[in-house]
Assembly symmetry: C2
Homo-oligomer: 642 residues x 2
């Protein structure tokens, strides 16, 4: 800290100021509040979202919400679940519409815990986050807005971002100082405009959409399914909702229409009349309309997500696209999660500030893929409806099928399923995601056979927790605590004993990555602490390829591994995807059932690196090299070379 | 109603007065409140259970709680889950104790959704019920007690039971009139004593138990498991609890001890000292004791559960046993559930009052089996610890193994697992549970091959709901609504079309059981009503042995079957227990995949009867005969014979 720093009233100092309490702002705020940061969170609306704006929660987002302990509160609202999408087209008879096919939202080839999309009023979801925030001491200040901000002396000042806030009615003003400012204010972001960051439109076509939530009486058989309906009278998208509601999306105009106007609109009655025509020969009557809105939307992507790694943008402030993709909230969640753990790693003194640059590079690439997909998805069905056999072939688990034997349709179908399920995100190589170009060079990296890929999600697997014999979901065992998750697939507890012992020994070597970040309050840590007994930045899990009753933690999990006694597992749960495996979790990861391997998973659930587990110092050397690439210290032989 | 009936202030009239707000009272109250009955519910404690008294929730009880929509609120408290029990005995070396084996609480041979016992503070469970009661307009009056009661003119009076209630401090009194009075006041039931009903003791031995809940620091490796520990210094039972707590049960004295006294007791410090000795060579220290209590308990069973089918007893008022069995709350729930639906059936004008007699006959037999089991279970381990191979053999799924090839140990083991999981309950034949002696005589009854047994629980199965493609648990699809559940396994939708059509046609025949109980408000029923569109006493489910996309409800589910559009399913979900079945749910029930069958499940989830599904009137004839045995009307040919 510079001694020249102007003395500030510390009550105005915050770790982060967050503008906007939609999904992106709430996710960021919730993570940072849980991890002990001081958050100023404002929103210009007096209340959370009251009606409309329901977004789908993808399977992958449901994993995340469960990992945060928020899933059950969301599911308590009994949301609709979409397992399949039905396609309706003009019938061959020429009269009305007929179903041409259905496909799974999240087919078998994706190994998902929750193979469905969850549909729920956004207000319910927001309130679950708000309740959690309040438990952690953060209260959203409403209705307040931002009127200005400025970053000064980021090198020397602890709180370099000055932010001007104001009550929306102008009666009160507040100046606060922050380490970071986050703009999650939606498509018309004030912060983005102030920074003069442009928006690029991938697809130059803009659309006007009508959306109507209501309760209907209809004999249309798929009213509880997600449906895409095309008819000579226009197109509609049907989305089931909680409480017997249904949402209809109807495209009212596009910029390719001869009489296009972004202000062209339609009344509630006109949309209903249009829907009645489209649904023929089926009837539909509205018992109740909860919400109706018309809005223009085009595909857009922000040029930058940050200019200085102090002021960041995320969510709709960075990317907009058609509602059909149902990706808004999910992409927002993952933007925020990506940024949250990186801020934590930097502010906790663990990682170099450089890693904050990967927020833009990782998340902007995802937004670009999403927009590309949105276009391809739209075109996919405008060409021809897929044959049932194609959909079936594409939906099956085909672990041995080669990509090149698949036709273009199946390929696009699979990609689209990966996107709509949320499992399509793949981060490119960088300091966090190992590749052969990574500074960490070791012959142990990415051992032959592994099915895990750096930058992609960890694979799901059931295992048995040794300490209490509970059958658990391994990927959910570490809560979203901001720590790197080190999964030690220990292989055979007898044959591999020396390698596990060597790993444990080298892990606590003074020059190791693990020993370098011991928590400052280490002497006061309770023996009940399960996840962070030594460091706030690592949680270890050890998984043995053995039956539970063959494992004794005291004997088989030496040193630090045994301290995480609630994170020692038996890989003894049968899995249909690897029916003949003796150790199914090892097999699903593509790791040897005898010799195992070590998997480093980033705090957001994406694989950072995989290394073989060997006798001697090799495995810890490889881990040291990986963490040396982005941590504030250098470890092992990397340190020795300095 | 007799015109001579004394005019009463109707505000003092209740359908039922319930005394005691423990598990049995709460379950009864919750069911009847949900089904629209007026309930007066009192408890002599000022608050719900504050500490201690945690009971295990069995797998079968968890099914029930889920069926009531209460499971997630209970699981939100993060209860401990017991998947395995560990047995510790004096070590062969003679020093301290050693683990001699473990076994599953609910092994694979039991087809359970939740193969674990859930352990949670009883107060949390009570509060979940209390919140539900309040939603349905019933508030527990505390601290109030019962001082007297009398049944007068049950044949002529609408509210024949006069009950005297009083605030525990004697300041207020109230006289109320009820159709039924229920005593769920625990082992020292005032109502049972007033009725002069005796208690028989199966096992003449009485025990004094100490129970201590607390947080410990120990190196005993199984502290998070359920353990039975025997040592030369005594015996202890370990039960894991929520919030890092552990419960220890320690037997302090028994009536076979030379210095036996029912008042013999032990201090907290004495019990801790004793536990330390027993656990050697492991250490244990208490960080915090939440609750400690000593109580004498013996096995007892009430001679009668009711004398007049107006005043009933249930729960601990009827049966007491050692805490080791962990059956208290579960048996209480099932007592209450058994009575609740029968009261509903009688008071709703559906069933003859005679069925109320089956409450005692069914539930007393269960209590007797439970006490028998409790004795056998205790003896099982006092003889010899089982060999690992025996436990393994007993745990496996052995559908083809014959009982007689199993040794006595395995047999007792299986029985004990069925008991501890809650799946061991089997109601004997009576008017509700069909047998060859039942008045309903039809060659279609209990078709060859069926694996369902009258008086036992329906089998679990996954199916796909046609209307929204959701994958669901068939056994959970009908909520606990007091209705009989008629599962029409429709077989092949094409080949079996005529049989399904005939069933649907005869179902709505004016003389059928189904048409006889149309709800009085039938004209005002919303088209959104899923479960009881026609009758409050039946819910129909139709399950086709076909892929979901092959089923069109309008075409394949005729008449009444199609009106239950949310209860039409595709039997197309692979099941590991019948890996080669084309229609796994049909196969698990033992029903033909082409021709199906009809299963009547009682409102409490136990199978009432199974009939073949045939063309013509035969199937509905069989159903008519079954319901004629206990309903207020006679149906079909049974009616014609009158």
């Amino acid at each position: 800290m510079s001694p020249a720093l102007v003395c500030q009233d510390v009550s105005h100092n915050y770790d982060v100021v967050i503008v906007g309490a939609g999904p992106v702002g709430l996710m960021l705020s919730t993570c940072l509040s849980r991890w002990g940061y001081r958050v100023k969170h404002i929103d210009n609306r007096p209340e959370p979202t009251a009606t409309g704006r329901a977004d789908g929660i993808q399977p992958r987002s449901l994993d995340l919400l469960r990992n945060m302990g928020l899933k059950s509160a969301i599911m308590a609202h009994k949301p609709a679940r979409v397992y399949e999408v039905a396609f309706w087209d003009p019938s061959e008879s020429g009269k009305g519409i007929a179903r041409t096919g259905t496909w799974a939202s999240c087919p078998n080839f994706i190994d998902a815990r929750y193979p469905f999309t969850t549909l729920l009023h956004q207000g319910h979801i927001e309130r679950v986050f708000i309740a959690d925030l309040e438990k952690n001491g953060t209260r959203i200040q409403r209705p307040w807005t931002i009127t200005g901000f400025q970053t000064r002396n980021p090198e020397t000042s602890e709180y370099p971002v000055q932010v001007e806030l104001e009550h929306v009615n102008g009666t009160e003003k507040e100046t606060v100082y922050a380490k970071y400012l986050f703009g999650g204010e939606g498509a018309r972001s004030f912060i983005r405009q102030q920074l003069n960051i442009g928006v690029q439109h991938k697809d130059p076509i803009a659309y006007v959409w009508g959306v109507m939530d209501g309760v209907v009486n209809t004999d249309f058989p798929d009213i509880k399914m997600k449906c895409t309906i095309r008819s000579p009278h226009g197109s509609i998208m049907v989305i089931p909702r909680e409480d017997n509601m249904v949402r209809l999306y109807i495209q009212i105009a596009s910029s390719t229409d001869p009489d296009w106007s972004p202000r062209r609109t339609a009344t509630e009655a006109e949309v209903q009349a249009s829907a009645k025509k489209i649904l023929q020969p089926y009837s539909i009557e509205w018992e109740h309309v909860e919400w109706y809105s018309v809005y223009p939307i085009g595909q857009g992507i922000s040029d930058r997500y940050t200019l200085d790694e102090r002021v960041f943008l995320g969510g709709d402030a960075c990317h907009t696209h058609s509602p059909k993709a149902g990706q808004g909230m999910n992409t927002a969640f993952l933007d925020a999660l990506n940024l949250a753990w990186k801020i934590h790693a930097v502010e906790g003194g663990f990682a170099n500030r450089e890693i904050l640059k990967t927020y833009e590079s990782e998340r902007k690439a995802v937004a670009q893929s999403l927009l590309d997909f949105d276009n391809r998805y739209a075109k996919l069905f405008s060409q021809r409806p897929p044959a049932t056999s194609e959909v079936q072939a594409a939906s099956e688990v085909t672990p041995d099928a080669h990509q090149d034997t698949e036709n273009a349709f199946i390929k696009t179908f699979k990609e689209s399923c990966e996107f709509t399920s949320g499992y399509g995100v793949s981060y490119q190589p960088n300091a966090l995601n190992w590749s052969p170009d990574h500074p960490a060079q070791s012959s142990l990296m990415q051992p032959k056979g592994t099915k895990l890929q750096s930058g992609r999600l960890f694979v799901i697997a059931d295992v048995t927790r040794v300490v209490d014999a509970n059958v658990v979901h391994l990927e959910q065992e570490i809560p979203l605590n901001g720590s790197f998750r080190i999964f030690i697939f220990a292989g055979d507890p007898v044959k591999n004993r020396a390698a596990v012992r060597d790993l444990a020994d080298h892990l606590i070597n003074a020059s190791s990555f693990y020993a370098a970040y011991i928590r400052p309050d280490i002497d006061e840590v309770s023996h009940h602490e399960k996840h962070n007994p030594h460091s706030l930045f690592f949680t270890l899990c050890t998984i043995f390829a053995a039956k539970r009753h063959c494992i004794e933690i005291q004997r088989d999990a030496p040193g630090a591994l045994g301290r995480y006694r609630d994170h020692v597992y038996a890989d003894d749960r049968w899995d249909r995807r690897v029916p003949d495996a003796r150790a199914p979790a090892h097999a699903k990861m593509g790791l040897d059932e005898e010799r195992g391997g070590v998997v480093v998973v980033r705090p957001d659930g994406y694989v950072g690196m995989v290394a073989a587990l060997v006798e001697g110092s090799g495995t810890v050397d490889a881990l040291n090299a990986y963490f040396s690439a982005f941590c504030t210290k250098k470890f092992g032989s990397v340190a020795a070379q300095l």
